[in-house]
């Protein structure tokens, strides 16, 4: 156990103030969460504590560590007393945190001080993080993401730190793995009586794991206090937005059955093989007019391949896709930074899409829409028209991508993880827009995602995919309440929110069964 206190920490890189007067105290072995959206400065705070800020950063502030005063501008040699010895770091991305050419055992051993190296038991360290002894001789590329993150944890613990920082340590992992890693970290923390600084953007995770919360925005502490109090009763507007965004994702429902019984897109027995790898195996699916369906699965389950087949980017080896609507199904991809041509203005992007729809759309779609109407549909302000994508925010870019997809007048819109790269607040706004489009324009929506809370909010039916198959499909409420397939059950259990103790769970206020009817109108209007 080690006391850590920081007073008035300022970090400046070039002209921008990254951290603007942070005060922070950690003096008991608890899990302290630092919550904020991307760019809030939470990662830089962790780096500042370990002297790992980018070259050229200017740092001021007082740093008390283990009873002694430490200088934020200390030389590399002095930081060695902090890094590893006092504080251990678990990094975000297990795929890049390990040296690709080093055997895992050697990497775990590398940080162990010389005098302890002889006695250090790598196998014991591996078993502590739940890995078999054989991992010692493996290279990172031979392991899965979750296994690598376990090696990272073992390597961090090997230096025997007195405090652990986990910086978005599970963000890059699948839900099920995420759950396992969080359990592991929590177990180790409790077992060693070690304080943990848990950095995340996900207030849902915080509810479950943290004792105290510090909320950061633009390099400032917005609010700090016991986790239960803050998530239940946020005082500051920013925290409230964060919490509400999450509550909305987890409780509110914007979905409704299709506006018509007419089937607009039907796929039967889709099978796709890439070399030896079967990406899709006899997958069938249908969508009705004005209906939103969710396709849920972990990475590798085949859901993206399904999307690519439905819009014609790949051709199925077997099976049939029938489209009964106007135009052609359109798609919005995940990454807002590459979904728009960086060389074109918004106007050029939309004009081209309108032309493509007008000239090529089969079934007589007259390009009745104008650019102005597209902007309105996607809720974009007109002053963005002559900007290039570089000058738009992530959310704005995805809205432009939606507007572009609407231009050819499709009856089916596929959203392939289209909101997962965005902040929760922006996610909600875009999901609301999409739900409105569904209702007002009878647009059928296929929402492909790994995020259960998103489908629960907007989809009326769900297809659960695993290893190239649809393992289960049905009404959203039914699947959440009584999953039939064991995989679905596991997936639901892993979604961190599922088993938050009720009295501690701000999301538990809205019972699942009757929410749909009750909330539909009121939230989406």
């Amino acid at each position: 156990m080690i006391d850590l206190s920081v007073t008035n920490l300022h970090v400046r890189i070039g002209a921008s103030e990254i951290l603007d007067g942070i005060d922070f105290v950690l003096d008991e072995p608890i899990c302290m969460a630092i919550v904020g959206l991307s760019g809030s400065g939470k990662t830089m705070f962790a780096r500042a504590l370990m002297g790992l800020l980018p070259v050229g950063s200017e740092v001021t502030g007082e740093y008390l560590l283990g009873g002694g005063v430490f200088d934020f501008n200390a030389k590399e040699a002095a930081w060695r007393e902090v890094r590893g010895k006092a504080i251990g770091l678990i990094m975000q991305d297990p795929f890049t945190a390990l040296d690709p050419l080093g055997k895992c055992g050697d990497q775990i051993l590398a940080g162990v001080p010389k005098d302890r190296k002889e006695a250090f038991d790598v196998k014991a360290a591996l078993s502590e993080v739940g890995l078999p002894a054989s991992v010692e001789g493996r290279f990172p590329f031979e392991l899965s993401g979750g296994q690598r993150q376990r090696v990272v944890i073992a390597a961090s613990l090997a230096t025997e730190p007195k405090l652990l920082i986990a910086d978005e340590a599970t963000t890059a992992l699948d839900v099920i793995t995420q759950q396992e890693i969080l359990d592991l970290i929590d177990g180790i923390r409790r077992g060693r009586g070690m304080p943990l600084i848990f950095i995340t953007h996900d207030i849902g995770l915080v509810c479950k794991w943290a004792d105290r919360i510090m909320v950061v925005e633009n390099g400032r502490v917005v609010e700090t206090g016991p986790a239960r109090e803050i998530t239940r009763n946020p005082k500051e507007a920013y925290t409230r937005t964060l919490a509400e965004a999450d509550r909305l994702l987890n409780g509110a429902v914007l979905s409704a059955p299709g506006t018509s019984e007419r089937i607009v897109l039907a796929a039967t027995g889709l099978t796709k093989q890439f070399g030896k790898f079967r990406a899709l195996d006899a997958v069938s699916l249908e969508v009705r007019v004005g209906e939103c369906i969710g396709v849920v699965g972990e990475s590798g389950s085949g859901k993206t391949t399904l999307a690519r087949l439905l819009v014609g980017l790949e051709h199925p080896d077997k099976g049939r896709i029938e489209y009964f609507g106007k135009g052609l199904p359109q798609i919005v991809f995940q990454d807002p930074y590459s979904s728009l041509n960086p060389a074109h203005t918004v106007r050029a992007i939309l004009t081209e899409a309108l032309l493509a729809g007008g000239s090529r759309g089969k079934g007589g779609t007259q390009a009745t829409l104008t650019i102005e109407e597209l902007l309105q549909l996607a809720e974009l302000p007109a002053e963005l028209l002559d900007r290039k994508p570089a000058r738009l925010s992530g959310g704005q870019r995805q809205r432009v991508a939606i507007a572009r997809a609407l231009a050819p007048g499709p009856e089916v819109l596929i959203l392939d993880e289209s909101v997962s790269a965005l902040d929760v607040v922006v996610q909600n706004q875009i999901l609301q827009t999409i739900s409105r489009l569904r209702r007002e324009r009878d647009l059928a929506i296929i929402l492909i995602t790994h995020d259960l809370s998103v489908v629960r909010m907007v989809a009326s039916r769900i297809y659960v995919m695993s290893e190239a198959h649809v393992v289960e499909f049905g009404e959203t409420a039914r699947i959440f309440a009584a999953p039939r397939d064991p995989y679905t059950a596991k997936l639901l259990a892993a979604a961190a929110y599922a088993d938050i103790p009720r009295e501690n769970n701000p999301l538990a206020e809205t019972p699942q069964d009757n929410t749909r009817t009750r909330n539909e109108g009121q939230i989406s209007e």
């Binding site: 790992l52 040296d99 940080g111 899965s144 890439f274 590798g300 392939d416």
Partner: protein, 345 residues
């Protein structure tokens, strides 16, 4: 292990194809040269119709082109490249004495370049943004931009003519004298080639320093030398595989530098044979040098493959990587075959 063998076979096959293509180009030169090939082969001797007929007979010049190529390759395999036009002596016997001095020059320059290039490349990358990086980067910029004959002439003027510290031409007798004679030309070649290596090393190393694993090692107080060793190991593949390029630069530069310093080596002989249109000699030297470059590239590629555990398993892993990334929109399956090929280069 079978995977390594498979790669070796693939790379050797590529090497053989390269050499055959080169041989074809080099062989065609005789026909691309203006005039009657028979006449070119006669050289300065008096041309009589009988002599031309004999030449046609012995060289099989009336055979179809590809039959001739076949014969030529057959001869080349047995190191028979015909006779020099200038001297009439068998090409191999004529060229061989010139090889020793070039070999020494190239060897000295290669060793110096590798040592200096990698050393300063590492120093430069480590001190990026600092004065020493600026100085090294600028010197290497000049080194890569300056043709070796221009540098050669400059040092020849300053150190041999002006100060008289080094001989102006020749190769010297005995070891020390030889070294003294080769110092300036070797320095010129080293300047150019180490500059190239500095550039390659620096740009391979800097991205490694910014990677997550470097930060994670620092966060655990892993000793600095171990962090650097890991970075260099990760950067070694592009450095190692640049050996072909380095050698090609070195051998190309030798031709010019030998000509500046009047060193009677292969390069100088090649240059003078080119002007004399002594085609068999040119063919032999060009093929030999190209052979060395191609062989070296093949060997280092294989070495890099064996050293790098990820490439050793790449083939086996392809299906698994595919399984993991299939649903990642950043790696759409359509581009996967391309990426795995292109990723090596």
């Amino acid at each position: 292990m079978t995977d390594v063998l498979k790669y070796i076979c693939k790379r050797l096959a590529e090497f053989i194809v390269s050499i055959l293509c080169l041989a074809f180009v080099i062989f065609s030169l005789l026909y691309l040269a203006p005039g009657d090939p028979a006449r070119s082969l006669v050289g300065t001797k008096q041309v009589t119709p009988e002599l031309l007929a004999t030449i046609r007979e012995t060289y099989g010049l009336d055979d179809p082109f590809f039959v001739q190529f076949g014969h030529w390759v057959q001869g080349a395999v047995h190191l028979d490249f015909g006779n020099s036009i200038r001297t009439g002596a068998p090409v191999t016997a004529y060229v061989a004495p010139h090889a020793a001095v070039t070999f020494e020059l190239v060897l000295i320059s290669l060793i110096c370049s590798v040592v200096l290039g990698i050393f300063f490349g590492v120093v430069s990358a480590k001190g990026r943004g600092k004065l020493r990086d600026d100085v090294i980067a600028n010197v290497s910029l000049v080194g890569t931009s300056a043709p070796s004959f221009a540098v050669g002439l400059f040092v020849l003027y300053v150190f041999a003519l002006k100060f008289g510290w080094f001989p102006i031409y020749g190769v010297g007798e005995g070891f020390v004298d030889r070294l003294w004679h080769l110092a300036l030309p070797a320095a010129c070649l080293t300047f150019a080639v180490s500059a190239l290596l500095i550039k390659i090393t620096r740009s391979a190393l800097i991205p490694e320093m910014e990677k997550d694993y470097t930060m994670f090692m620092r966060a655990r107080s892993v000793p600095t030398h171990e962090v650097q060793a890991a970075q260099i190991r990760n950067a070694s593949a592009p450095i190692l595989t640049s050996a072909g390029l380095v050698l090609a630069n070195l051998l190309g530069g030798t031709v010019l530098v030998e000509s500046v310093f009047s060193i009677p080596g292969l390069g100088n002989l090649l240059a003078s044979s080119v002007t004399f249109h002594d085609v068999p000699v040119v063919q032999f030297i060009a093929l030999t040098l190209a052979f060395i470059v191609c062989l070296a590239s093949a060997i280092v590629d294989i070495l890099a493959y064996i050293i790098d555990p990820t490439s050793r398993r790449r083939r086996m892993l392809r299906s698994r990587v595919a399984a993991e990334n299939w649903d990642d929109p950043a790696n759409p399956p359509a581009s996967l075959p391309n990426n795995t090929e292109g990723g090596v280069s």
